[in-house]
């Protein structure tokens, strides 16, 4: 008896929007996860050739090596301004920034607030890992009260160092912002929800509704001094309570859109 050849079915492959190179991210870092989700969304929307990405300064400074699309790379914190420049001369292209929490919520707070307030029709992927990854784990605006970092060795003392910034909540108060949500990357269920949110953000841009941002709680096992497993646990137990996973602003025109 001749056995029928088994038919192969591809269920998982590298997105076209992702370049076939090894990244420089530490083992267990969720920057790679976030990249992958963005690449999948861009593939699914078939907009790779119409997208210009804006990399920032931080561990993701080399994002342009990993995304298979046109990219520019901004000075520290200035990605929303650079994205504004690209979008204003090319309004039919998709423009997104990819920024860390030091980049976006500290040195770049002016640029992000102004871009959101203008209702700039761009999408922002915001990685909140509660510290400055690239420079070796210093305190960020998102560092939790009491959290030890290389520049708050005794833990963040809010009396001296102030309080963390809940960026998504803050930006959601602006009328120019149309889609502002927070998701997390610490387990498969949350990763799936993060992907849906990224899709919604790009759909917001596609419909010309204005500013969209997805804040992603992300791990930095290297600077947190944890294993990847512990780091994901810590997101769940320490970060999520402080940074609730929520939709803070969803434009009514998006209400009926289902991913």
């Amino acid at each position: 008896m001749v056995q029928a050849a088994l038919e192969e079915q591809i269920v998982y492959s590298r997105p076209e929007s992702f370049t076939a190179v090894q990244t420089h991210y530490c083992p267990g870092c969720t920057h790679g996860t976030a990249h992958r989700l963005v690449a999948e969304v861009i593939d699914e929307m078939e907009i790779r050739e119409k997208t210009v990405g804006v990399a920032s300064v931080g561990c993701s400074v080399f994002a342009y090596n990993y995304f298979n699309m046109d990219f520019v790379q901004a000075p520290h914190g200035r990605a929303p301004a650079m994205a504004t420049g690209v979008k204003r001369v090319l309004p039919d292209r998709f423009v997104f920034t990819y920024q860390g929490d030091g980049d976006l919520a500290s040195i770049g707070m002016g640029e992000i607030v102004a871009a959101a307030a203008r209702g700039e029709n761009i999408t922002v992927i915001f990685i909140n890992n509660a510290n400055y990854g690239m420079t070796g784990g210093q305190m960020a605006p998102t560092t939790l009260p009491g959290q030890q970092t290389s520049s708050s060795p005794n833990g963040r003392d809010v009396e001296v160092m102030g309080f963390p910034i809940r960026t998504a909540e803050l930006l959601s108060t602006l009328d120019g912002a149309s889609y502002v949500v927070r998701r997390s990357l610490h387990d498969p269920k949350n990763i799936r929800m993060a992907k849906k949110a990224i899709r919604m953000a790009f759909e917001t841009q596609k419909q010309g509704l204005g500013f969209s941002m997805v804040e992603l709680l992300s791990v930095c096992p290297t600077n947190w001094g944890m294993t990847p497993y512990q780091a994901n646990q810590w997101v769940q137990s320490a970060m999520v309570p402080y940074y609730p996973l929520n939709d803070f602003k969803v434009h009514p025109a998006l209400a009926n859109f289902r991913v």
Binding site: N68, D70, F71, V89
Partner: protein
Amino acid sequence: MTKEMLKGNVAIAEAAVRAGLNAYFGYPITPQTELLEYLSARMPELGRAFVQAESELGAVNMVYGAACTGARVLSSSSSPGISLMMEGISYIYGTEIPVVLVDVMRGGPGLGNIAPAQADYNQIVHGGGHGDMHPIVLAPANVQEAIDITYNAFDLAEKYRTIVVILADGSLGQIMEPAELPEMKPLLMRQPDWATYGAEGRPKRFLSSINIDPAKHEIFNIRMEQRWQKIIANEIRFKEYYLDDAKYAVVAFGTSGRIALSAVRSARAKGIPVGLFRPVSLAPFPEQALYELSKRLEGLLVVEMNNGQMLEDVIKITRHQTPIDFYARTGGIVPMPEEIEAAILRMVEEPVNTTEHPRDRWLARLSQELIGGS
């Protein structure tokens, strides 16, 4: 075409529009604001991009992003705003992106005041931010020259993939005088082979100023320095007035050059053989021409609206071929033609002591006049 009465700031703006400006990004600051205000109406009327940015940091990075697509992009500001743009200027240079910037200088340091000055010479001509860099710097002295320089600045920036700074001052920005505007060039959406506008049907591109490998960055710096040598060879501009038979010369740029010309004319009327050498390109500086000139002079007077920033370059360039004297007003004070004429007469009648720095004599005299005491 006919001449019309045009204000410097507006003339520069309209010249940029006619050169095919795709986008403008700026932030209000006196004495440059009319440029932004004019374009806030003009650009949308033509269906082109205009954004009043949140700051000069925002403006320069919008310029950076827009110019990365290959578009013709302009921003303008005045001294304190230009200081804030330095970060972006360095990044733009490090990414080899053509951009045109206008600096309508005012009195500094600090918030200073809104009166005309030329004290950004060092920060632009020798600066433009961190790293080895050379923006092209052009200094017009009247509205017509500002129009002509602006109209050609985009071609120049694109030719060398570099930054062109139009270095004006509050006086030129605010003055109204008859001038002729060039014809409107067709608006193009340029897609040069380095630009990032969406990788449709071609491999992706990226634009960044990062070169994490020092060996590669050294090669980049050397390549940019070679490009600068080409710019020196091709783009030096200066104006000479009454120099053929001159025994003395004034060196001055922009508004002080314009005022010095009046002083030179009245000194000539008194029989003094003096002329004017006015650098138009401050970077690249007309070094060779000035050096050759200095060899046949009996004295040279540098006039500026700062404490002697170009003076240091002139001393270096002329290599003691001729005695150098210096006259300046600073902090937003514009020298009167009579003051410069008096300085010309002094140079002729009381030859300078070449062992002291030209600034010493000027400082002693101005200190006495303005502050008193010893």
